[in-house]
């Protein structure tokens, strides 16, 4: 048992990867540890050649994963797009782990990321002592991935500035990176590729330039289709977080979660659960992650201000915060939803009243 908080995927699932590699006799692209078919089995679950059970890493549509793996098998880069909480980084990590056995070539892109963190940096002591030289050069994960023929992961690509993003264009189209200071260049070995993730509904991000965009194949990861699945995810995360925050979890939390999720799902899907009424959608994403935050917020409020009993009252304030991101439009959307749907629905009168009050 490791005393580390979390291990990378290739170590956590080392047994599964080994089993898959043993039974894998299909064609492999160069420098891939597994064949594309085995990568799919690793992601979606199934059985390895020797009968080892492979746990599913991604629960969702098979076709999306097929497109993702096929993309990496060509020399196009892969961009995973989706609202927060749709397992983008998770998929990216496992793809890298399965394909190259190394998911640690990671660059977290932020507004403060500059070119030196993408291309290469300098060890200034060496630079002063020896001038520009190979020894003074500090390679980035991207640099090393090119050298080793591995996958480089770029998290939240659109969070870094557009000018820095465009550094990637040469790397992606010509598979090389010039090092002007040394009058040389490094050329990517076969097997090198890039998996980027980005949030398609965020504000304050830097849009990809079309030059960069057309070097990516894009796979959009959707929110869970199935209500029960999502309720289970939320319930599990909520109880985990409640434990770590030392919040008491009342008995009715499951029911309230399913009510909150019903409202969230209906609003983000733009239709009631029975499919009979179409609705407008608010500008926020109302993802699974936000539902978790809402319920945890409600729990906290209940614990500190309401003797631990969780009611619509506590949840409503948090829900309004999640739903109304644009004070004018989203408010109208919510009001319309309250008046036309929630008002008449049995079991939701407390929510109708509490939300109406909170709006």
């Amino acid at each position: 048992m490791s005393d580390l908080l979390r291990l990378p995927a290739e170590q956590t699932y080392a047994l599964e990867l080994e089993a898959l590699a043993r039974g894998d006799d299909a064609n492999k692209p160069e420098n891939w540890k597994l064949s594309p078919q085995s990568v799919l089995t690793y992601l979606l679950g199934g059985k390895a050649g020797d009968g080892t059970v492979i746990s599913p890493k991604y629960v969702g549509r098979r076709r999306l994963m097929e497109t993702a793996v096929a993309t990496l098998a060509t020399d196009r880069a892969l961009l995973l797009l989706g609202v927060p909480g749709t397992a983008k980084s998770w998929v990216s990590e496992h793809l890298a782990a399965a394909i190259t056995g190394d998911s640690t070539m990671l660059i977290q892109c932020t507004a403060g990321t500059d070119e030196n963190q993408i291309r290469y940096g300098w060890n200034y002591a060496q630079l002063l002592a020896k001038g520009p030289s190979e020894e003074a050069l500090v390679p980035t994960p991207l640099f090393r991935a090119m050298q080793d023929g591995k996958l480089c992961r770029l998290e939240e690509l659109t969070r870094m500035g557009s000018d820095v993003q465009d550094t990637l264009i040469t790397v992606l189209s010509e598979k090389m990176m010039p090092v002007a200071e040394l009058n040389s260049a490094i050329y990517a070995r076969r097997g090198f590729n890039v998996i980027a993730t980005a949030n398609n509904r965020d504000k304050g991000v830097n849009e990809l330039s079309s030059a960069l965009k057309r070097r990516f194949n894009v796979v959009v990861l959707p929110l869970p289709d199935d209500m029960d699945e999502e309720v289970a995810i939320v319930a599990r995360r909520v109880s985990e977080m409640a434990v770590s925050l030392s919040l008491p979890v009342p008995k009715n939390v499951q029911e309230e979660i399913s009510r909150v999720l019903t409202i969230f799902r209906e609003l983000r899907a733009g239709a009631t659960a029975d499919g009979k009424t179409t609705l407008k959608t608010p500008s926020g994403s109302l993802s699974t992650a936000e539902a978790i935050a809402t319920v945890v917020g409600g729990l906290s409020q209940a614990a500190w201000f309401n003797d631990g009993s969780l009611t619509a009252q506590e949840l409503a304030a948090n829900m309004v915060g999640a739903i109304i991101k644009d004070p004018v439009q989203d408010k109208a959307v919510l009001e319309e939803y309250l008046e036309t749907v929630l008002k008449k629905r049995s079991g939701y009168s407390a929510y109708y009243a509490a939300l109406n009050e909170a709006v």
């Binding site: 076709r63 497109t67 993309t71 079309s210 894009v218 109208a332 008046e339």
Partner: protein, 794 residues
Amino acid sequence: MGKDASALDAVSFFGIRHHGPGSAASLVRALDEQKPVAVLIEGPADASALLPMLASPAMKPPVALLCYPEDDPSQASFWPFAEFSPEYQATLWAMANGVPVEFIDLPSTARFVEKPAKPTDASPPAETVETAAEMVETAAETAETAEAAAQEPEAPAAALPPALPPEFRDPVGVLAEAAGYEDGESWWADLIEQNPAPGPIFSAIADAMNALRADLAHLPEFEAKREAHMRLAIAAARKRHEGPLAVVCGAWHVPALQGAVAQKDDRALLKGLPRKKAAMTWAPWTMPRLAFAHGYGAGVDAPGWCAHVWHTRARRDGASRWLTRIAYILREKGHLVSTAALIEAERLALALAAIRSRPGAGFEELREAAVACLFGGEALLWKTIEDTLLLGNEVGEIPADAPLAPLIEDLQRHQKAARLKPEALERELAIDLRSESGLFRSTLLHRLLVLGVPWGRLLDKGGSRGTFRERWMLAWEPEYAVQLVEKLVYGATIEQAASAYLAEQLGQAAALDALAELIRTAITASLPVAASRGLALFEERAARSSNCPEMLAAIPPLADIVRYGDARVSASTSSSASTSGLGQLGVLLQRLIVEAAINLPHAARELDAEAAGEMTERISAAHAGIRLIEAPQDILEAWFRGLEAVLGDARATPRVAGRAAHILYEAEALAADEAVTLLERRLSPGTPVVDAAGFLEGFFSASAMRLAHDEGLRRAVDGWLTGLDEDDFTAHLPLLRRVFSGLDSMERKRLLAAALGRGPSLPAHLVPAPDGGAGWQAHLNILHPLLTGNNADG
């Protein structure tokens, strides 16, 4: 028996996929190889005489063979043929090679059912559903029933009954699905890729069908009859023709047709088929109507893709061409798609095919590659081009010498029943909707209007709503017949065609108010299917739309329907569907009112003069509609809350706010003293004159007479007017004139009198002098000759 079995060797059975381009291509090659002396095709045997016309150069598919009982076109069945239909290609091959070609399926008359209902009225809905379901089931394989044709996918009757197993409809598709394919054509293409000779493919398909049919417990009776008829027809053809025969039929039937069954048993099965006289002709068809989603039981999912497969059957660059087509459609919609992106998409499609262990990139691979490379991962974007790409919009043509179109025949029948003759000269016709015959005539004229045949022009349009009278001006123009032939694709009777055509227009209507008008049309023309589709669409759009002006404009027509709609319906025999539709509409309308009210404050903000004028009129019209339906209290309150919000919103356009205040005041939701306070505040010196004038106009332009009766209001307005300085007053004179222009001279006098505080008497300086009477007579004596030009001196 034994002789029959050995003789069957000379007959080749080609089990095809209906409208499958892959099987069409294989079939043509197989025919070239086999060189049969006659081609037998699965199709109504009594229509064989029309087959040669199918190969005529003037015939441009998609076209459909149309058979109907002579006295009742509403029971028409259609057999559509596209360019890529194997049956069509087989016919072309036979005509080109000079061999006879025949249909061998049950005659079309066997599909007609006795219907007691009057042909012109909509039969009670329960029965319609039943017959339609039954007919779809029996005819599902090749023919499209008229019912199914007339209805859009949302209509319950058009959907295939769940009892019908999919292998009946598309057994090849079932095999493809079992092999993990979404698209039967891609599966077929891969199959050919692996087995290049056409002969083995058809025998492989026959084997597969044997397996599929093996666990079939019970063959529906109609299917059994069809197969019996085909067996007998093949045997008869064998007697007539020396040499090899080719039988082209749905793959599903091959095992049954190859099986040995005594002719005696087949004949026994075929006894007692209905013998009605059938009329038949060719009708132009459209590509979208070949699609399964458009209610055609034997349709394909994507006719556009089928056409593509057919056209590129001899090429290696099919995938590139398909992607290029996607790119063209995207570019037309204003998206930027580069050639490089197409190359990447094709490479991804090939990689996907490799991952799925398929020999080539098929429909699914190309779609997923296009989504990832061309659409930025947005599957929604694919939905927006799906119709253009997969359905296509080609319309077929038929030769001029094709038999007479059933729509014209149907019209003639209706004209007889309605005792209305088509005359070129204008003639006025008054109709009383309470009588059965009156309603029949009115419905006919309204339906023709829907079809773009304005034989009758409705006089006093709109004025007659809510009464039982309609006045029409009739005049027949020859080009109306042409219109009817063009509309044949929508259905074989006036009712079906009108319903389907209206349903299509409903699908295209974007704005809520346009949609509401179309729903009203559907209800007036008593087309319940179109009406309920319209309602469903309306509900969907209404929920998505936040366009308040549209919602407001949709309220009056819907209110009209709710209030007066059943005036037409109750008189007619069919009722339950329409009345339940009306009930649904009532709920929908109430929701619409609430939504409009919620969006009202936002929509009323910062409008320019023109928009403000439109908005005030829409609000008034909507309010009239709301009063018309006598909306329940909570809806009315929601509406008033919306108006109050406009009134309380500092950014609301003053003119709109004025109208809102007026409506509230009239409805007594605003107390008299509150109204006075409001008016005083809105017209107080602190308010810019422009705003105050706008508010005044909104408040009074519809009802200036209020001022004459209501002293409080009058004082407020009077105070504002007299307080204006001269320039402002002059500037707003036109506006003030507009406000008071609605009054006639009598009313103006009374208002003036009231304004001057004297009641009916005249103010002091206008009262005539005491001797005025006598003096006036003297003046008159002098004036009269001058005015009449009858000068005594002259």
